[in-house]
Homo-oligomer: 214 residues x 2
DNA sequence: ATAAAAGCATACATGCATGAATGTAAATTG
DNA sequence: CAATTTACATTCATGCATGTATGCTTTTAT
């Protein structure tokens, strides 16, 4: 009773990913031994080494499964951005927070990424992908802000680069801190007011960074 | 030529802390071997085990050395908060960002804490101290926001709890992301406009979280 | 000056996680 | 229905980081 059918093998792979996410969250990625992941998934280390090369590749697979919906969101948002760019940004950010508030797996993933993981050389591919994703997201949001300036939704002298950095930092910080204490406040309910507060700041007093002389 | 005088021993301890900060940043805390730290400091592991119980205690010492100035700032700020609470909050946040932008050691520390460390059980004392510090900081800022509402600096219906969470998230996010790419923009120059943007949002459209029915 | 303790260096024993090697039985393929 | 591959389980050898124990030399206290 060793060999499984193809779909059973896929199920094994999925349960390995789920188990890894859990154990990563409990023990931290670096301190996690693959035997723990295997035990949690109800298999042995042999199964892990069959499906993945090593722990880094397993972690990479866990991350990619988690960031897939976000990327789909970004791609989808590039469509209907023409008429109301600010609303598009707002929707984008809102859906990210809503996804975090609602999905337990998403919470686990960000908990791992933010607090239970060391981004060192051995996870270089994950870091590289993170960097690429962030860069793509940032440039897309900045383009939306540029459009918002062109539409008159934002002041003409808005530094859209800084505005983008600020919004991204806001989002990262909200997720980073909220996953530490999901019970501290109702993120799903508070996401809108929190976002609108920052967007209002952008509209009334946008960041303007004069290229300082000296 | 083994035994050192007392101040030489203190110097050894300091160089151990500095070396640990560097190696932690390069290799990550979990992957750092104490022999690396010792070698970087020009001693052997014996010196580490003399000054510290284990890696966790070493990391704790590194963290405490880094958070000391921040705590001093907070204590100092509780003094002159009466007449202009909003300006006090602004000053507080500004000094934190300025400190980060200017001090290389502070950058290293936050890089380690944000990206090169797993907060698991073995670092429980550090986590506990972090939690306590954050709670103290948040409650103090919220008190300032409450005063700001009383002064009329912020709208009467402002949810000061959410406003505090938002500002804290903003700060965390700014630091979290900026240490990843200190060259991406001039934090020292942009700290003011970035902060004022969020504070303007607080003044014009403060977060108000209605206790949602259903 | 002598005893005691400080401040490390060195040597040793231990466990433990890894990765590779091998075994194996069922499931495909032709 | 044979041959081959899949999908793991099991075993093994290895290295490596840790913690402890011990040794050694110089301060420091008295």
């Amino acid at each position: 009773m060793v060999k499984k059918t193809r779909e059973e093998a896929l199920a094994t792979r999925q349960s390995l990913l789920a188990a890894a996410l859990q154990v990563f969250r409990e023990r931290g990625v670096a301190h996690t031994r693959l035997s723990d992941v295997a035990e949690r998934a109800g298999v042995t280390r042999g199964a892990i080494y069959w499906h993945f090369k090593d722990k880094a590749e397993l972690f990479q697979a866990v991350c990619e499964r988690g960031t897939m919906p976000v990327e789909a969101l970004l791609a989808e948002a590039s469509q209907n951005a023409l008429q109301d760019p600010l609303a598009t940004v707002r929707q984008l950010a809102l859906m990210a927070l809503t996804q975090l508030a609602g999905h337990a797996d998403t919470q686990a993933m960000f908990d791992v990424i933010f607090h239970k993981c060391e981004f060192t050389e051995e996870l270089a591919p994950v870091v590289a992908k993170n960097d690429a994703d962030r860069a793509a997201c940032l440039s897309q949001v900045q383009r939306l802000f540029d459009q918002a300036v062109a539409c008159g939704q934002l002041p003409a002298d808005t530094d859209t680069f800084l505005a983008t950095q600020g919004l991204h930092a806001y989002m990262v910080g909200l997720m980073h801190e909220w996953v530490l204490n999901p019970g501290s406040y109702d993120l799903a309910a508070c996401a809108k007011p929190l976002l609108d507060c920052y967007l209002a700041g952008l509209a009334t007093r946008p960041p303007i960074c004069r290229p300082d002389a000296g």
